[in-house]
């Protein structure tokens, strides 16, 4: 049975959440989205229905957050609460219905990223943790970890320094390199603490995407065969439909297929 971190939201009902909740965490630019894509494809080919989701995508506030950030006008408490609202919306309207319908829910970041950002911005650690106590405890959290020295070349040679990834609201310096470095260092420090506190599985993100994928795959395979396999809960079609989800059936054997997916993604 699923649990939360201490606060259960009204009407949530934890007893029938039979799916698996898998979280990929990590700072910016560690390759989370590549892994998300590969994992989704592999899991679907294995016959698992997958919901992939991430931060600030909720129907309620996702757009508003983007718009407000463009103006750079949100205070730090306000921004944290805006994120928490978005998170609650996704939890209630996407994640929980999908888990109830027996889906594997893959989420690109989770409540921990929001806690880490708030802490870097100097908010009370107890306060931000308490607010996020309504979050469901995931079945697994994989933390793709990278040091700041390895992260910088990736940022430089891919998309450059993003304002928000450089903590533009925090540092008055005009030097993007300097603020990116400071901000990411502070974030990694917080993530390392959270990794211990919440027992993340730490994965060295300097490795090749293919190797990281193999590690994730092995761990997730174990999770899915352990008590209460996901398929056991034949998802009532109407539950899935109500949540706006589609089921992809056809279970196929594990193994080479995963390799092929990894290779294809690496080429792309």
């Amino acid at each position: 049975m699923k649990e939360t971190y201490g606060v259960v939201l009204p009407n949530m009902g934890l007893h029938d959440l039979v799916g698996k909740l898998i979280v990929i965490e990590g700072t910016d630019g560690v390759g989370r989205s590549t892994q998300m894509r590969m994992l989704k494809e592999w899991l679907e080919q294995e016959g698992h229905a997958v919901l992939d989701t991430g931060l600030t995508r909720s129907g309620l506030v996702g757009k508003s957050i983007k718009r407000a950030k463009e103006g750079h006008t949100l205070g730090r408490i306000t921004l944290s609460l805006f994120y928490a609202t978005d998170f609650a919306d996704r939890l209630e309207n996407e994640i929980v219905p999908a888990l109830r319908a027996g889906f594997v829910v893959l989420t690109d970041r989770y409540t921990y990223s929001l806690i880490a950002r708030a802490m870097v911005r100097g908010l009370d650690p107890a306060w931000i943790r308490n607010i996020h106590r309504f979050a469901l405890k995931p079945d697994a959290v994989f933390y793709l970890r990278i040091g700041v020295d390895d992260l910088i070349p990736r940022a430089v040679f891919t998309r450059g320094f993003d304002y928000w990834e450089s903590g533009i609201d925090l540092y008055s310096t005009e030097d993007m390199y300097e603020s990116f470095r400071r901000y990411q260092t502070a974030l990694i420090e917080q993530f390392d603490k959270l990794a211990e506190e919440f027992q993340f599985e730490v994965i060295d993100a300097r490795a090749e995407p293919h190797a990281i994928f193999q590690r994730l795959r092995t761990a997730i395979e174990q999770l899915l065969v352990s008590p209460g396999p996901v398929q056991a809960a034949a998802p009532p079609a109407e539950v899935a439909a109500a949540a706006g989800l589609s089921v992809v059936p056809s279970p196929i054997s594990i193994g080479e297929r995963a390799e092929r997916i990894a290779e294809r993604h690496e080429k792309a």
């Binding site: 009204p10 309620l60 949100l74 306000t78 609460l81 805006f82 609650a88 306060w127």
Partner: protein, 227 residues
Amino acid sequence: MKRYGEHRIPGRLFVVEGIDGSGKSTQLTLLHQWLKAEGFGVVFSEWNSSPLVKDTTKRGKKKQLLTPATFSLIHATDFADRTERNIIPLLKAGAVVLCDRYIYTAFARDVARGMDPEWTRELYGFAVKPTIAFYYRVPLEVAMKRISDARAGFKFYEAGMDLGLSNDPDESFRLFQGRILEQYEKMIPEFGLTVIDATLPIESQQQQMRQLVLSKLTQARQLRVAP
């Protein structure tokens, strides 16, 4: 981040609380007029008015997208924006700030919707503690009568229709406001709310209010606007 009760700022913060139809907004408007006439630098801040957050709240309400949790969180976001950009800077500058509804409204509504009471209090842990929080206490029937005289029909969330208490908006409103009254009663000792009997004549309520406010302003000459 300073928590409730930890802010040491020169301004004064007065807030009014009570169910719809308690007459609290009328009382606050009268106080506002008087303070202005007395030469105080006074600013009015309304519940649910942050320009950044308001549209989201409005859309959520209109399309009935809000659950008890997101209803609670979006209002806290709005309040945080007003606190960070408005209330705290004004109080630092020495203003008298008046709020029509404050965190106690959120506590009453959120808990009436089934949210965890401790969690909602923590959610607003960043709020400035008011100099005085007035609670306009009124029996439900009196409030209902005043409202039905003044306007037609209740809004969906206002009547707590999201809780499915009753399909009849009037009945749902009554049940929901009854729950809210219960919460207010609990908060009187918890937060030291100043109770005003809202069935008294408007003038005598206002007189009480002005006396209490004045007692908190006498040592605060800097709050006056230069002539």
